[in-house]
C-alpha cells in the first residue's frame, strides 16, 4: 500500500515536518521538531515501494534495531522510531556541521591533522565496539563531529550488532558496503569482525594523507576482490616526506589479514595519540608493494582465510586491554614497585595483546614560574623520570613494543592518573598501595582517590610481607 508522502508542515506522531534535508538512494532525511524536545531533530524515512532495492528495507530494519540500543557521545541521540506497519521512520539528533566528505576536496591534509581525525574516529569506533556494534560502512560521509570535538558515527544500516540477529545475513549474494572502504573479509560476506572498521579507517587515513585512494574507486566486484591479495602502494612511495609512524599505523590498519591489524580500536587510538613512541616495524620503511611472488602466493593459497570465520557465531575478539601502571619512583617505594612490576608482568603474560602504559607523575608546584633556568630544570626532571621509568620496566623486556612511558605533570597525581585513563580508554589501572603514614597525612591517598573515581578496574598492589606477617609465621610453625 502506498503511504501518503511527507510534506513540510505535515505532523507525524507529534513530529512537525519542516524541510527536506537530503534525498538519498535508500532514504530521505527531514528536519523535524517536536514540542518539549529542545535539540535539533532529523527524521530518516526509508524509500519503499515497487522497484526499490530490498536491501533498503532490511537495512532500515537493522538501523531501527540497533540505534535505540546505542548511547554515548559518538552516536546521534536516538529519539523515536515509527512502526513499519504504519509509517516507518527514525527520529534522531541532528548534528550541526558537515561530515568529513567536503574535506575530500582539500586533500592531502597535514599529517598531524590526519592523525587527529584518526584518533577521534578510532575513539568513536572503540565506543561503538564496546557496545557490541560493528559499523561496517566507515567513510567520510558517515563521520561528523560535535562542537566539543568527539567524532559522531552515523548510518547504521549496514551495521552488525553481535548480540542480535543479523538480518542482512542471508539477504544478499553480494556484499554491501562502500567499495573503496570495504575490508577484504567483508567481500567474503564476513560481518562479525570489528577489525573491518579499522581497515575502512585505514583507507580513510591513507586517502586523507596522500590524496589517493589505496584501492581505487572501482565498484566492480572483480576489481574490489583484488584487495584480498594485493596490498596498496606504501604512502612513502607517493609522498617521500611521509612520516614513518603514520605509514606504520596506516599500513597496519590495511593489513589483509585481520589478525595483523590492531587488536582493538582503542589500541589504534592509543598509537595515534602517542605516535612518538610507536614501534616502527618493516611496515614503516616500505617503499614498494609486496613482491609479485608474495601476492601470487596469497592469491593462490586462500587457506589462511579459513581463520576469518569464527568457530562460534559471535566470538569475542581476544582480550586486548590497555593497562596503565602508575609507578612512584621515590626510593621508599622500592618494594611496592617490585610488586607492581610483577603484577605488570602477569598482565602482559595473561593478555598477549595487552598494552602497558607506564605512568609517573611529576608534581608541579601550585605557583607557576617563568624562570628559564627553572624551566630547563623542569625539562631535565621530565627526561630523568622517563629514563627512570624505562629502567623500572627493563625486566619486562618481553613486552617490548607493547610498553610506552609517560611522565604526567600535575599538581594532583590522582587527578592526572584519572585524566590519563579517561583520555586513553584505559581498561585497568595498577598502582601501589599508599606508603608511609607521614606521606599519607601530608598528601592524602592517591590510590584511594583513583580507586574511588576511576571509570575502569583499579588494582591496588601491595608487597606481601611473608617474613613479618604473624599468620605466615604461624602457618610455618604449624607445618613444621
Amino acid at each position: 500500500m502506498a503511504k501518503p508522502g511527507l510534506q513540510p508542515s505535515t505532523v507525524l506522531d507529534g513530529f512537525h515536518i519542516e524541510s527536506l534535508v537530503h534525498r538519498g538512494g535508500m532514504a530521505r532525511l527531514w528536519s523535524v521538531s517536536k514540542p518539549g524536545i529542545d535539540i535539533s531533530l532529523l527524521m530518516k524515512v526509508p524509500i519503499l515501494g515497487e522497484g526499490v532495492d530490498p536491501a533498503a528495507i532490511v537495512s532500515f530494519e537493522m538501523e531501527q534495531m540497533i540505534m535505540p540500543r546505542l548511547s554515548g557521545p559518538n552516536v546521534p541521540i536516538f529519539v523515536a522510531a515509527g512502526d513499519f506497519a504504519v509509517h516507518p521512520y527514525i527520529v534522531m539528533e541532528r548534528l550541526p556541521g558537515k561530515s568529513l566528505l567536503p574535506r575530500t576536496m582539500e586533500l592531502p591534509l597535514s599529517y598531524e591533522e590526519v592523525a587527529r581525525i584518526g584518533w577521534q574516529v578510532a575513539t568513536a569506533l572503540d565506543n561503538l565496539h564496546r557496545q557490541h556494534v560493528i559499523h561496517l560502512d566507515i567513510k567520510p560521509s558517515n563521520i561528523l563531529f560535535r562542537p566539543s570535538g568527539e567524532a559522531v558515527l552515523i548510518d547504521f544500516g549496514l551495521s552488525r550488532h553481535l548480540q542480535l540477529p543479523d538480518l542482512m545475513q542471508e539477504e544478499f549474494r553480494l556484499p554491501y558496503g562502500t567499495a573503496p572502504y570495504m575490508a577484504p573479509e567483508q567481500l567474503l560476506g564476513i560481518r562479525h569482525d570489528a577489525r573491518s572498521d579499522q581497515f575502512a579507517l585505514g583507507v580513510l587515513l591513507y586517502f586523507f594523507s596522500t590524496g589517493v585512494r589505496p584501492f581505487g574507486e572501482s565498484e566492480s566486484f572483480r576489481a574490489m576482490k583484488k584487495r584480498l591479495w594485493r596490498d596498496p602502494k606504501p604512502p612513502r612511495q607517493l609522498r617521500p616526506d611521509y612520516p614513518a609512524w603514520l605509514q606504520e599505523i596506516v599500513l597496519r590498519c590495511l593489513e589483509i589479514e585481520p589478525a595483523w591489524r590492531y587488536p582493538s580500536a582503542a589500541q589504534l587510538a592509543f598509537e595515534l595519540s602517542h605516535h612518538d613512541q610507536i614501534k616502527l616495524t618493516a611496515r614503516s620503511e616500505r617503499l614498494k608493494r609486496d613482491s609479485f611472488a608474495t601476492v601470487l602466493k596469497r592469491r593462490l593459497n586462500p587457506e589462511h582465510r579459513k581463520d576469518w570465520i569464527p568457530r562460534t557465531a559471535a566470538a569475542p575478539s581476544p582480550a586486548a586491554p590497555i593497562i596503565a601502571v602508575a609507578v612512584d619512583l621515590s626510593s621508599e617505594a622500592q618494594a611496592t614497585n617490585e610488586a607492581l612490576r610483577e603484577a605488570s608482568a602477569r598482565a602482559l603474560t595473561a593478555f598477549p595483546a595487552a598494552r602497558l602504559a607506564c605512568l609517573n607523575v611529576l608534581r608541579q608546584s601550585l605557583i607557576a614560574t617563568r624562570d628559564t633556568t627553572l624551566d630547563e630544570e623542569g625539562h631535565n626532571k621530565h627526561v630523568n623520570r622517563l629514563v627512570e621509568l624505562q629502567h623500572w620496566a627493563q625486566p619486562l623486556r618481553r613486552g617490548e613494543g607493547r610498553i610506552t612511558y609517560h611522565v604526567l605533570e600535575s599538581t594532583d597525581p590522582a587527578s592526572a592518573i584519572l585524566e590519563y585513563a579517561k583520555q586513553n580508554k584505559v581498561d585497568q589501572i595498577l598502582l601501589g598501595a599508599r606508603q608511609s603514614s607521614l606521606m599519607r597525612t601530608l598528601l592524602g591517598s592517591v590510590s584511594a582517590k583513583v580507586a574511588g573515581e576511576a571509570a575502569c578496574t583499579v588494582t591496588i598492589v601491595r608487597p606481601s610481607h611473608r617474613e613479618t606477617s604473624a599468620s605466615a609465621s604461624e602457618a610455618a610453625a604449624n607445618s613444621s
Partner: protein, 246 residues
C-alpha cells in the same frame, strides 16, 4: 504483558521450579508451556501437577512427544528414553495421565502459534535444527511468531516475504526485537535437560507490547535432580548429562 515460555521440563523438579521462581520474580504474568513435561527425569508427577496448576490459572500448554508416549506406545524413541516412559506411566495418576492425553498438538494464541516441534507435521516430532526445517515449519503457518522446543537448543529463525531465512543463537539476557516485517520461529531451550553445552535451565520471556524476546538461564540444584534420577534407578546417563548440559 510478560509471558514466560518454558519447554522440555522433562520431570526435572528442581529446574522447573527454579525457572518458575525466576520468571515470577521477573514479572511473568502468563505461562506458555511447550510440552515434554515428562521423560528423562525423576519427578514426572510433580511436573505434570505443576503444569495442571499453571493451565488452571490461565496458562497454555501443548503436547510433547514424551507426553504422548505415556499413552501411545507407537511413538518412536530410543530404548533408554522408552524405559523412563514405562516407569513414568506407573508414577502418574489417572488425573495426570488424563491431562497429558488432553493436551493439543498446537495452540493458536492471537498471531502466535505454540507447538512442541516442527509446525508442518506436529505429530511427526521433527526437530527444527537448521534453516531447512525452520523454513518448512514457517511455510506451514501464517502465524507472526511460532514458539517451539524439542531440540533443547535455543535458536531464533526468521523468514522474509521473499522467503529469505535468518538464523541466530540468542545471547542470554539480551532482548531481541521481533520486527513485524518478517515472521519468526523461536526455538526454546530446555528447562530440565539442556543440551547446548550450558547446564543451567533455559527459558525465555516474551514482552507482547514491545515484541521482544529475552532468553534466560537459571542455575538450579543439579545434584538433587541427578540424585533423584539415580534413586529411581533410571539410566545413569540422564543424570550425568545434566552436569554438562550435553
Amino acid at each position: 504483558m510478560l509471558v514466560a515460555l518454558l519447554s522440555d521440563m522433562h520431570a526435572n523438579r528442581q529446574a522447573f521450579s527454579a525457572c518458575l521462581e525466576h520468571a515470577q520474580a521477573g514479572g511473568a504474568e502468563r505461562y506458555m508451556l511447550l510440552g515434554d513435561f515428562v521423560g528423562y527425569g525423576a519427578d514426572p508427577a510433580w511436573a505434570v501437577a505443576k503444569a495442571m496448576e499453571l493451565v488452571a490459572d490461565g496458562g497454555l500448554a501443548v503436547l510433547g512427544n514424551h507426553d504422548a508416549a505415556v499413552s501411545d506406545p507407537s511413538i518412536g524413541m530410543n530404548a533408554d528414553a522408552r524405559y523412563v516412559i514405562d516407569w513414568t506411566r506407573g508414577e502418574l495418576g489417572i488425573e495426570e495421565r488424563g491431562f497429558l492425553t488432553g493436551l493439543p498438538l498446537t495452540i493458536e494464541d492471537e498471531t502466535r502459534l505454540l507447538v512442541h516441534s516442527d509446525a508442518s507435521a506436529p505429530e511427526q516430532w521433527i526437530y527444527v535444527l537448521s534453516v531447512v526445517e525452520a523454513a518448512r515449519s514457517l511455510h506451514a503457518t501464517q502465524a507472526e511468531i511460532t514458539f517451539c522446543g524439542h531440540t533443547h537448543k535455543p535458536t531464533i529463525f526468521s523468514i522474509t516475504s521473499a522467503s529469505k531465512m535468518m538464523v541466530f543463537t540468542p545471547v542470554t539476557d539480551v532482548a531481541v526485537p521481533l520486527h513485524g516485517l518478517r515472521r519468526w520461529l523461536i526455538v526454546l531451550g530446555s528447562v530440565g535437560q539442556p543440551r547446548d553445552g550450558n547446564p543451567a535451565a533455559s527459558y525465555a520471556m516474551f514482552d507482547t507490547e514491545k515484541k521482544e524476546i529475552t532468553f534466560r538461564r537459571v542455575p538450579y540444584d543439579i545434584e538433587a535432580a541427578a540424585a533423584a534420577i539415580r534413586r529411581a534407578k533410571l539410566p545413569q546417563f540422564f543424570a550425568e548429562r545434566l552436569f554438562t548440559g550435553r
